[in-house]
């Protein structure tokens, strides 16, 4: 195990900066997820840590040592690729033992460590097959097995689950979590799926356009998004964010409807326009929300139901207020009809306000 530090790390492709001077410190044994939309620089960052991509400027340190000029083989890392990148001409056994074979380890040790890895990942039945004879999930497990056989300082995962179907992805997600518990290790995990990032990581790094938007625990990035982008990116369904004017302590929507400025923002410097963000959990048809916790500030408004998406245990209700379709999560579903007005509760104690200038979250004054 080792720490990983990125210092003013830059990747340039010609005039384009794919990664723009990011700083990040990953602790020994920590599981960190890099998450963001495609093109945000997360994979490039991972590949720079791996040594597969040259570093334009800045430094990567593994275990305190600068590795900028070391080839991948000298960095003591393992990587699991999106496409698995198994060696098609080798059996599963040979794939698993390959890194030890090229390191010229004795055969007995190779056999022992391959057996260990295949026990952990339930690959024993498959050891003599070729990758082409395996299913997607099995290939994925072989790829992970190949990574753990090496006993590296750092594990790097590059969107390892994105080629699997939804059911298998959930299953493998759990397996990765169990694996990390069994094989303590420093992990850098790249994904575009915020659910994967939230469920797996100790800390999440949200990236956009080559910059880090926020670093925090899953709970922090969910409850206190630092920017409007993070607010919209984390959480499912997506946070409702509506631009509105601030007039006399009111948040006024373009059509004249309004909500009061949440109590905890009274006195904050709001300017005269901001983005109001409320998660679908915090807006609900009155009487169908979460049991209201202490310190809630519920405001009721009449909204027009537009679409209903029943999910069984809960129902997503899209209802129009202030010229915007709000997504609301309705617990204990009851029949609703599109086009009918209903009473909607907005829990403003959980609302977020974002600056319309630079998208940063506005600091609350209290509450």
């Amino acid at each position: 195990m080792a720490t990983v530090e990125l210092e003013r790390l830059v990747k340039r492709y010609g005039p384009i900066e794919a990664v723009r001077a990011i700083d990040l410190t990953i602790a020994d044994g920590e599981f960190v997820a890099l998450v963001g939309p495609s093109g945000c620089g997360k994979s490039t960052t991972l590949r720079m840590i791996a040594g597969l991509e040259e570093i334009s400027s800045g430094a990567v340190r593994i275990g305190g040592e600068v590795v900028n000029d070391l080839p991948p083989r000298s960095r003591n890392i393992s990587m699991v690729f999106q496409s698995y990148a198994l060696y098609p001409h080798m059996s599963v056994r040979e794939n698993l033992g390959f890194s030890l074979k090229v390191a010229k380890r004795p055969q007995a040790e190779i056999d022992r460590r391959v057996a260990e890895a295949s026990d952990i990942l339930h690959l024993n039945e498959l050891l003599d097959r070729r990758p082409s004879q395996l299913s997607g999930g099995q290939r994925q497990r072989v790829a992970m097995g190949r990574a753990i056989v090496r006993k590296p300082e750092v594990f790097l995962f590059d969107e390892p689950l994105s080629n699997l179907d939804a059911k298998l992805r959930t299953q493998m997600r759990t397996e990765i979590k169990l694996l990390h518990a069994r094989v303590p290790s420093t992990v850098v995990y790249v994904t575009h799926d915020q659910v994967e990032a939230m469920t797996l990581a100790d800390r999440i790094v949200i990236m956009r356009d080559g910059l880090i938007e926020q670093v925090g625990t899953p709970d922090e990035v969910f409850r206190r998004p630092a920017t409007r982008f993070v607010g919209a990116f984390i959480g499912s369904p997506t946070m409702n964010i509506v631009d509105a004017d601030i007039v006399d302590g009111r948040i006024v929507f373009p059509n004249g409807d309004w909500l009061p400025v949440p109590d905890r923002f009274v006195g904050a410097r709001l300017g005269n326009r901001c983005g109001l963000g409320i998660r679908p959990d915090d807006v609900y048809p009155t009487g169908h929300g979460l049991p209201s916790a202490a310190g809630s500030q519920v405001v009721e408004r009449e909204a027009i139901v537009s679409v209903i998406e029943p999910l069984g245990n809960e129902t997503l209700v899209f209802a129009s207020y202030g010229g915007h379709d709000w997504v609301a999560r309705m617990l204990n579903p009851s029949p609703l009809e599109p086009g009918r007005p209903i009473a909607m509760s907005f829990d403003l104690a959980k609302a977020h306000l974002f600056s319309t200038d630079h998208g940063r979250a506005i600091e609350p004054t209290g509450g």
């Binding site: 083989r73 990587m79 890194s99 082409s132 190949r146």
Partner: protein
């Protein structure tokens, strides 16, 4: 009516059957038959004298034939291996080129654009012991005073022929192997780097298995080419001096057209075709095995 309906498929295929019979089956049968006669072009009536396998027995007991046969196999082995190594090297270098690769690819294929006859003439000139470029260069550089008898000494002449052959056909290997390199997925190589491979190990264990099928395709094509080698040798040495560079096909051509012994020549030609078939089958087996190994989907 019924017989006509049965005949329709046959009638529709008839033009193709006629063409195939006239251009392939008939000449093949005729040439095979003539290999069983003492047929001489100057005495047409000999076509009707049946001598059984005598031409084959003669050829297979003739040291001149076996020398030519052996030399052809040697040329195949030496030229193919050299072309393979050089072509592989060229392809690996070419794959690294980031700018102007298309232009370089075209340049690389230049030797393939010349007729082998002209290549033969050019190399005959270059290897000429008096006015040739090679001796001239060697002497100017002070490496030797003597005029090296390139095309006169048997071994040197063979080397000269191999050089011409390799120069003109290395691009076949280079271009096919380059195609293989460009087609192979990048991730396994990256995985190998991360797995601790040195550049040589990544090549040996990952890249090479991927491009092996392409190398075998080039081998197959080139083994047929070299198996029928005639033009370059005809021009450079004409099988000489004193048959020291005689190959199967220069021998066949000499027997057929200089000596007019068509029957005997046909017998030798069939032996050569058997050789080519053996090589082709061998390389195709290798190709199939290599493809299965990397689970190729093509």
């Amino acid at each position: 009516m019924k017989s006509l309906r049965l005949g329709t498929p046959f009638l529709l295929l008839l033009p193709a059957i006629v063409v195939l019979l006239a251009t392939v089956a008939l000449p093949l049968a005729l040439s095979f038959y003539s290999s069983l006669t003492p047929f001489k072009l100057t005495r047409p009536e000999t076509l009707w004298v049946f001598v059984g396998a005598r031409n084959y027995v003669n050829a297979f007991t003739d040291p001149v034939f076996w020398a030519a046969f052996g030399r052809t196999v040697l040329l195949l082995t030496v030229a193919l291996n050299l072309e393979m190594l050089l072509g592989l090297g060229l392809a690996l270098l070419m794959e690294r080129v980031t700018r102007g690769q298309r232009l370089l690819r075209t340049l690389m294929m230049f030797p393939m654009m010349f007729s082998p006859i002209l290549v033969g003439f050019q190399f005959k000139f270059m290897f000429n012991d008096n006015v040739g470029l090679i001796n001239n260069a060697l002497q100017s550089l002070g490496i030797t005073d003597a005029a090296i008898p390139w095309l006169i000494n048997g071994t040197l002449a063979f080397i000269a022929i191999v050089t011409a052959e390799v120069w003109s056909s290395t691009p076949v290997f280079a271009i096919l192997i380059l195609a293989g390199l460009l087609a192979m997925p990048r991730e396994p190589i990256e995985a190998a780097k991360v797995d601790g491979c040195t550049p040589w190990q990544s090549f040996r264990y990952v890249t090479w298995p991927f491009i092996m099928p392409f190398a075998y395709i080039a081998m197959t094509i080139r083994s047929l080419d070299v198996g029928r080698a005639y033009d370059i040798v005809k021009i450079m040495t004409d099988g000489g001096p004193a048959r020291r560079t005689e190959l199967i096909w220069t021998l066949v051509a000499r027997t057929a057209y200089s000596d007019a012994r068509m029957g005997a020549a046909n017998a030798m030609a069939y032996a050569s075709i058997a050789l080519s078939i053996v090589f082709t089958v061998y390389f195709f087996r290798k190709l199939a095995a290599a493809r299965t190994q990397i689970a190729a989907e093509w």
